[in-house]
């Protein structure tokens, strides 16, 4: 770790001003990602502005018809909050499928949205990586790419956005509230994270020094029919090879609304509206789920070590749709249903 200055924020505006005083300013919340990045010399902030003092808002508050999550609340407090468990159980399940209890106790909602990829090469400053150092090349394309993306990749980067929580937020259609030098913004979740394209160094559309203050969830929480399934190389404390969030509104046997979001396969939580529209008005059968999966995975591009991912994702979508029909079949840790 190199030397840096530390500043505890006293208010939202103070945090924004402080972080913008330096070109190399960065916020720290739980620190579970940014401190690791500093220890690996990937992040070298000149000043760290601690946003934890801003954690005085309620974890969850009623907002319009839905709720607002504090950006500064921990992942654990959010997942176990009675309103979330009751109205947005998908979010609760997805958060609890991530990391470990210890990390979730530190990690915050704002930090979760901004965690960096887990690409091995990104963390190793002695290998080329366009995300870390634009223009140096992508080591993963010809390297070990089991964890890497199959959708929306570019020739410059094939990294995956690793969050579980954000897969649920994408499915629920959350809105991110921000505050910055240019004022307050409300960013729909689908527009928050980016694809790598020509600028893999940019994970999302936040402006420099912009602070996330809250995350709004719409009224509909799909508490009747939801499921989160996470497939990984060990049963806990591992990132997803593929994860799927599914929610339905059902009208008898017919699907009146479907949302399917995937993690572990792209540079952002992956939703394909055509597939969701396809399911609308159809009966909830495996054949229809399979057809939706085909639509979602059209154009998948694989690499040497992740050629299994499209088929795994296809099966995972079908299983997760089945699980969403009877959420009580779900096992702890977002394991496949028995």
């Amino acid at each position: 770790m190199h030397n840096f200055r530390y500043k505890a924020a006293t208010s939202v505006s103070d945090a924004v001003v402080e972080v913008n005083q330096s070109a190399e300013g960065q916020f720290v919340a739980g620190g579970t990602n940014v401190l690791d990045l500093m220890k690996y010399f990937v992040a070298k902030p000149e000043v760290l502005v601690d946003v934890n003092p801003l954690n005085s808002l309620p974890v969850v508050s009623e907002y319009k018809e839905g709720v607002r999550l504090s950006a500064f609340a921990t992942n654990a407090d959010t997942a176990y909050h009675p309103i979330i468990e009751k109205r947005y159980p998908l979010l609760s399940k997805a958060i609890l499928a991530g990391a470990s209890a210890q990390i979730r106790n530190m990690a915050t909602n704002g930090g979760n949205l901004l965690q960096r990829t887990r690409c091995y090469y990104f963390y190793d400053v002695n290998t080329p990586c366009n995300k870390r150092e634009p223009g140096t090349g992508c080591s993963a394309i010809r390297g070990y790419n089991r964890m890497m993306a199959i959708m929306g990749t570019s020739e410059h980067c094939i990294a995956v956005f690793p969050s579980d929580m954000c897969v649920a937020l994408a499915a629920l259609g959350a809105v991110v509230n921000t505050d910055g030098m240019q004022g307050k913004r409300e960013i729909p979740f689908a527009d928050f994270h980016r694809l790598p394209g020509d600028h893999p160094e940019k994970d999302n559309n936040l402006l420099a020094g912009e602070l996330i203050t809250g995350i709004d969830l719409p009224a509909e929480g799909f508490a009747e029919h939801y499921a989160y399934l996470k497939l990984r190389d060990r049963n806990s404390y591992a990132f997803a090879l593929v994860s799927v969030a599914v929610v339905f509104r059902l009208d008898g046997d017919l699907i009146s609304e479907a949302r399917i979001a995937l993690g572990g396969i792209a540079h952002k939580p992956w939703r394909v509206l055509d597939a969701e529209l396809y399911l609308q008005g159809k009966s909830a059968t495996v054949d229809h789920f399979a057809a939706a999966a085909e639509i979602i995975l059209q154009g998948a591009k694989t690499f040497e070590f992740n050629s299994f991912k499209p088929e795994l994702a296809r099966r995972a979508i079908i299983r997760c749709c089945k699980m969403a029909l009877s959420p009580d079949t779900q096992l702890p840790g977002a394991q496949p249903s028995a």
Partner: protein
């Protein structure tokens, strides 16, 4: 009432309280005033040469004391031999900071010494190194064609080469009734004990050092330091009372020891060097190994031909070997055998023994090929093992000193419920999960090395025993105390065992499951010698109640020597010491294995593992839902610590079969998942029901204690049993470890 023997009792670790409350001090936790901290700079290239080394920016930081590299290191021992430790394979040992040459990625090339660890670590990033890169190769599979026979040397003594071929394998295989063959692929694994490697060297002045080191051999490190730095052995003291796991990684002196001692001697100050987790991937590892098997049997199930070939990685500078292909013929009779073991030198650091080295590798191939053959024959896998049960070691023709493997099969199968198994693959289901049962056999040689031990009775009549041996977390302290207590019929509370200090009685490195046999036997011998001495002194005392008794006529109990025939005729041990003018009575013994007797026998612990897996039929997700390991290892000194050893081996088996792998990027010639987030070892959610059985096994030959080591045997059978259970569940034979869900989709 006399004290119950301590051997055979389940006794909790004596140091457990210190360990779980954090008061146990490890090598990197000994603080002295003015301690300096070293941080290692590692090579970022895989092969080549350092052209330019510039530490100016680092040295400019206040608090940075010195940056050592090949250009300014002190002059050191001249000969390679002086760098060879007790566990060095044939070849040229790696010499840190020797010259500008880079032999592998992550090679230590400099040590930054500063007033704090953080400062040293930061300064290390400011060191500028220009390299000339050369082409390298780290890929075993791509280079198998260049495999060659290993060189032999001293260390080969404990690792015998493959047995000579018997009969005519090819002819027997060609004409056999049933055949099975396989190619087995294992990648690199790193030990990753929780405790990071660390050395704190205290400079005592005049070429004298006290060293706190994380190691599995205090004397090994003492000799290494003495030789390399030209110090008198008596001036080098290596202390290692607690070791937070090692699994073989501490069998050889690691480079942080060298660097810490070098800096302390040069700067004449105390210096600590602690490696970080990434650096834990920059030395020894389990070598990637590719194996080929061909087994054949007659229609009645009797094995006719066994061929087992292994090709393993080694470094360019040492020929590290393992015993991979010798097990099949120790376990099963066959008239035609062909075993081969070859090495491919690559641009990596030398591999290093890692728990059940060779055994866990080779037995996977042997036991999964046996499993495949049993399906070919339509014979139950357990029945097939029984048909081919070897009453003697077929590879040498010698009898076993004891072998209760049959009991392992019987008791293990009964506890597991093996009879519930339906023979067809894919025939057992639970919801949308396929259920599979698998079993396998394990074997590990019971070795014994020479060692010394010291025993004394102090003025309070209490027994003090000591040995330089370490306790790497296996329960050595507890078990040695038990053995010592029984030598004089004392209660555990009346015995102290001191250890982990090179100035104590000589012990070899702690590994290979030979510590109880080696050090335990030495303690037993020292205890017996002490008993005889006490008896002699007791008889010489005035009015001794022992009269003309012979040693056989007395017993030691409750701190007394008593006549067996006259239980009231006693003399207290502490009175014998008083009569000795209060001077402790002691005995130091060198204990040698009884080679002449032992050479007529094969000696091995055996095991049988039974495993149930569930595999999600669509998604391939695998869970080991139940497992039983039954072990025959002679006398079990402490069933509680022994059970922990086997449980640890069973968890590791799940790791080996399903989780663990060091990922190498051969474009860079480096390991990519160098942290415990990405180097997957099992978590609680991966572990379900595990059960351990120790079967009765009496052995009067193997050593004075009748006890065989159990450090490795828990990892010998179960990885193969998991692969076999997966075949039974899915009908898919996956011979590449670790097995992942996408292998089964």
């Amino acid at each position: 009432m006399s004290t119950q023997p301590a051997i055979g009792q389940s006794i909790s670790r004596l140091e457990g309280f210190e360990k779980v409350t954090g008061s146990a001090k490890y090598a990197g936790e000994y603080n002295v005033p003015d301690l300096l901290y070293g941080y290692v700079v590692n090579s970022t290239i895989t092969k080549g040469e350092i052209l330019n080394f510039n530490a100016d920016a680092a040295l400019a930081l206040p608090g940075v004391i010195k940056v050592f590299y090949y250009g300014n290191r002190p002059s050191l021992a001249w000969f390679n031999m002086q760098y060879a430790d007790m566990d060095a394979p044939p070849g040229t040992p790696f010499r840190p900071l020797q010259d500008a040459e880079i032999k592998y990625n992550g090679q230590p090339i400099a040590l930054v010494v500063a007033e704090s660890f953080e400062l040293a670590k930061y300064a290390a990033t400011l060191v500028k190194v220009d390299y000339k890169e050369e082409t390298f190769t780290t890929d075993l599979i791509a280079n198998q064609a260049s495999a060659r026979s290993p060189k032999v040397g001293l260390a080969t003594a404990l690792k015998p080469p493959p047995p000579k071929p018997v009969g005519d394998f090819e002819a027997a295989y060609d004409t056999a009734f049933a055949k099975a063959s396989g190619k087995f692929i294992h990648g690199t694994e790193h030990h990753n004990p929780l405790e990071l490697f660390a050395t704190t060297t205290i400079y005592e002045g005049k070429g004298k050092v006290t060293i706190y080191d994380k190691t599995q051999g205090t004397v090994n490190c003492q000799l290494y330091v003495g030789n390399v730095f030209g110090l008198h052995f008596k001036d080098v003291r290596v202390i290692s009372p607690y070791v937070g796991g090692a699994f073989g990684s501490g069998l050889r002196p690691q480079y942080q020891l060298f660097l810490s001692v070098m800096a302390a001697l040069e700067l004449k100050r105390a210096v600590r060097v602690t490696l970080d987790r990434t650096q834990m991937f920059s030395f020894g590892h389990r070598p990637p190994t590719t194996q080929f098997t061909r087994f054949a049997a007659a229609a009645d199930g009797s094995l006719r031909a066994i061929n087992h070939t292994a090709i393993a990685e080694t470094s360019r500078f040492e020929d590290y070997t393992e015993v991979v292909v010798n097990w099949a013929h120790m376990l099963y009779p066959a008239k035609n055998t062909l075993m081969e073991y070859k090495l491919v030198p690559l641009d990596v650091f030398s591999p290093l023994d890692m728990r059940a080295p060779g055994g866990s590798t080779g037995l996977h191939a042997v036991e999964s090929t046996m499993d495949a053959l049993s399906y070919q024959l339509g014979i139950d896998p357990l029945e097939f093992r029984l048909i081919n049960y070897a009453e003697k070691d077929e590879s040498t023709g010698r009898p076993y000193s004891s072998k209760e493997l049959r009991k392992c099969y019987e008791e293990g199968a009964a506890r597991f419920g093996w009879s519930e198994r339906l023979p067809q693959p894919r025939s057992m289901k639970r919801g949308n999960k396929l259920v599979g049962y698998g079993m396998a056999t394990g074997i590990w040689e019971a070795m014994q090395l020479p060692a010394r031990a010291k025993a004394l009775i102090n003025a309070e009549g209490k027994l003090e025993v000591s040995s330089a041996v370490t306790d790497i977390g296996t329960g050595t302290l507890t078990v040695m105390t038990q053995i010592a207590a029984d030598t004089l019929g004392l209660a555990m509370d009346d015995v102290t065992f001191s250890y982990g200090d090179s100035k104590m009685a000589f012990a070899p490195i702690q590994g290979g499951s030979f510590t109880v046999a080696t050090v335990g036997s030495a303690i037993k011998a020292a205890g017996l010698a002490l008993a005889k001495k006490l008896f002699r002194k007791a008889k010489q005392m005035q009015n001794s109640p022992l009269g003309k008794a012979k040693f056989e006529d007395v017993e030691f109990r409750d701190g007394l020597i008593a006549l067996k025939a006259q239980p009231k005729a006693v003399i207290a041990l502490k009175d014998i010491v008083s009569a000795n003018k209060g001077r402790a009575i002691q005995s130091t013994n060198f204990n040698l294995p009884k080679v002449m007797k032992l050479k007529n026998y094969s000696r091995a612990a055996h095991s049988a593992a039974f495993v149930e897996v569930e595999v999600d039929e669509e998604l391939g997700v695998i869970n080991v839902t139940r497992a039983v390991t039954a072990v025959a290892a002679g006398k079990i000194i402490n069933p509680k610590t022994a059970r922990s050893q086997i449980l640890g081996g069973m968890v590791w088996s799940i790791s080996k079969a399903l989780r663990e792998e060091t990922i190498t990027d051969h474009n860079f010639g480096k390991y990519m998942n160098q942290n415990l987030g990405e180097y997957h070892i099992p978590v609680h959610a991966d572990i379900h029901e595990l059960d351990v059985i120790f079967v009765e096994e009496k052995d009067d030959i193997v050593n004075e204690l009748g006890s065989k080591g159990i450090g490795e045997i828990g990892l010998a059978a179960m990885p193969a049993a998991i692969a076999n259970a997966i075949f039974h569940a899915t009908g898919k034979r996956i011979n590449r470890f670790p097995i992942h869900l996408d292998d089964l989709m």
